[in-house]
Symmetry: C2
Subunit: 386 residues, 2 copies
């Protein structure tokens, strides 16, 4: 983690209906995501991590803004935006759709919810997808209504998430399958509830579309959750790196394609898929990738290795080291006692066994190259130090 | 000002070449703007204000990202994006261009630099204009190359800005007229230098397109500026409100049109201007505005009135108060000892003499309605309390 200056708040940095509660509950740091406040830490990154893996947390992820595409051309527009074939997606499904521009470069990587045959929501990462969609639709004269509805998702994550959700919505909440959503009632209000979330600890996301009912729900999640040791939480850098979940803007940007980011497994390239990125991606596949997102593991049994702020990654040739990239994300895994990092590397270096990564004192340390998600097989697993 | 939590920094929140210097020089708070770090305060909002009005400051405004439009259809695309007629703008001019969508709603309000007949830079406020422009260009099949170049503007602002700039670039820097730009050499590198900046204290913006030369320049501005009492600074909330400069995201958003935001004086509505917002704006003009951005002044001779965090604005009817809006921006003017605020009000209330604004303790206080920029004529002017 880097230095933490103070964050000046103004109306431009929007709050969610839960922000004041989350602040009172001890959120110690925030980031700005889609022009909104997102908590990043409560007790500590490591304490939050262990708690998430053992109990249940309620996350204010209202920053996951929805972009609503509605109308006769809604699906046609979404298909133009993503190289993933969505023609067979059923209503009620969630689907991960990397969005890419005419050069094949990533614009965002939302989860799309198919609400009706002519209605989609994109639950977006940090970029103004609405503006891109509006430009495409107006430019190409598509018949689709685009807007950002007042929806602030709450995530309930962790191994005890299901029990807590049953207390609120009844046992039928368990009928919701992974990456599907259904409507569930709470206090007379119907919420969209999906089995999804930005962790691999299991759980749900509740699409709160009414602030008053949402705040009631938020409070009840904590009241009912006491028996499960519920705590407020947020997407956790350690957990998401251990789980191989990528963050747009950190691990990959608009300068990278979905293929370079290793997202090719989510879709088949096909000329039949009418995506505006398809010609560029097919060409890239044919020519081969010039760079790839890979993982780095550094043995650090005694605690977080103090990497530099934007650690330079170097390779060796003739006993000389030369810089080849800069780390994307990094965190220390207290479970495996390894430093984890991601980096976009030129293809020739991806087949090496290791590279050098810069420490805060200027020295370098050896880092093993891995694919993402990391393979921790065979490594000893540690427990929280008490 | 509101509460200040810590800001968690990750690669997604980009630095400028000057960020580490600005931190070391005492920036005490930052905001996030165009996915980048923008300092908001050094000594204090008020101390920074008085210094800016009396001396000279160097601002790291690298967050003013440039969107480059280049190619045969560059000007056609920009004209489609803004209701302001740009057909007669000459190369070398800066021009304020509110950008509006097909509903007439504000997407951003950049300053555009005409670099060549087929090349524009948009120096943008906080939204992903590049994505909107890409969508429009791809959708409508325009022949234009769009990208975000590596440019990080530095602003030199304040009454002594011109003297300092002469020390660096020579006396000919004074030949640059207001809202024009020219190339000026420093250490063998040509910089674009404009007489512009987000204050009314006079000064320049230097479009740094090379980090190494930029850092050299930054350091020399402080070395040479010692005799002018130079300090690091940033856009100052007090100064910009006193000067009537609006902030996209705070004072007006994508829910407002340029006419509602009072920006109509920057352009003439005309069917001949091929802007995609023109039909909607002409219709709005014909039907009359339903809401308007106005200024509020509250007598507060003893110091900043503690307004609520998102102060509710109320109007009276039959001795009852009912909420009519929420304040956009607010600051206390130490010069006029008035609390200044902006608010988007439904038209019928704009002709009232005053409204009520909520204080942090729940009470309300009377606020005089004014147009923006504020009219301080006849008010006593105070000096800094020493």
């Amino acid at each position: 983690m880097s230095a933490k200056p103070f964050l000046a708040i103004s109306n431009r940095i929007r709050s969610t209906p839960f922000t004041s509660r989350v602040m009172n509950m001890g959120a110690s740091a925030f980031t700005v995501y889609n022009h909104m406040l997102l908590p990043t830490e409560f007790e500590s990154l490591e304490a939050d991590y262990w708690h998430l893996c053992e109990h249940v947390q309620v996350w204010d992820v209202g920053v996951e803004r929805q972009v609503s595409l509605k109308g006769p051309d809604a699906q046609k527009l979404l298909q133009w935006m993503t190289p993933r074939d969505i023609s067979n997606v059923q209503v009620g499904r969630c689907v991960y759709v990397p969005l890419a521009d005419e050069k094949g470069c990533l614009v965002n990587d939302p989860v799309a919810l198919k609400l009706a045959e002519d209605h989609w929501w994109l639950s977006i990462a940090d970029s103004d997808v609405l503006l891109w969609a509006k430009g495409l639709a107006v430019g190409a004269n598509f018949d689709v209504e685009l807007h950002e509805p007042n929806v602030w998702p709450l995530a309930v994550q962790g191994p005890k998430a299901e029990q807590l959700m049953q207390r609120i919505f009844g046992e039928s909440v368990s009928d919701i399958k992974f990456f599907r959503f259904e409507h569930r009632e709470y206090q007379g209000h119907l919420f969209i509830v999906a089995r999804s979330g930005w962790s691999k600890q299991g759980g749900f996301e509740i699409y709160v579309d009414n602030a008053e009912h949402g705040v009631q729900l938020f409070d009840e999640l904590f009241d009912r959750g006491a028996e499960f040791n519920v705590r407020p939480g947020c997407p956790n850098l350690i957990e998401r790196l251990e789980s191989g979940l990528l963050s747009y803007g950190n691990d990959m940007t608009i300068n990278d394609t979905p293929l370079e980011a290793g997202l090719g497994s989510f879709f088949n390239l096909s000329e039949n898929t009418k995506a505006l990125s398809m010609p560029a991606l097919l060409k890239q596949q044919e020519q081969g990738l010039r760079k790839k997102l890979i993982g780095l593991l550094i043995d650090a049994p005694e605690g977080a290795t103090p990497l530099a702020e934007n650690p330079v990654v170097s390779a060796e040739s003739d006993n000389k080291y030369f810089p080849i990239s800069v780390v994307g994300s990094q965190a220390w895994s207290p479970r495996y006692r390894m430093q984890m990092a991601t980096v976009m590397l030129d293809a020739p270096f991806c087949n090496q066994a290791s590279v050098e990564v810069q420490l805060v004192d200027g020295r370098t340390v050896d880092a093993k190259i891995q694919s993402i998600p990391f393979d921790f097989t065979g490594l000893p697993q540690y427990q929280p130090m008490s």
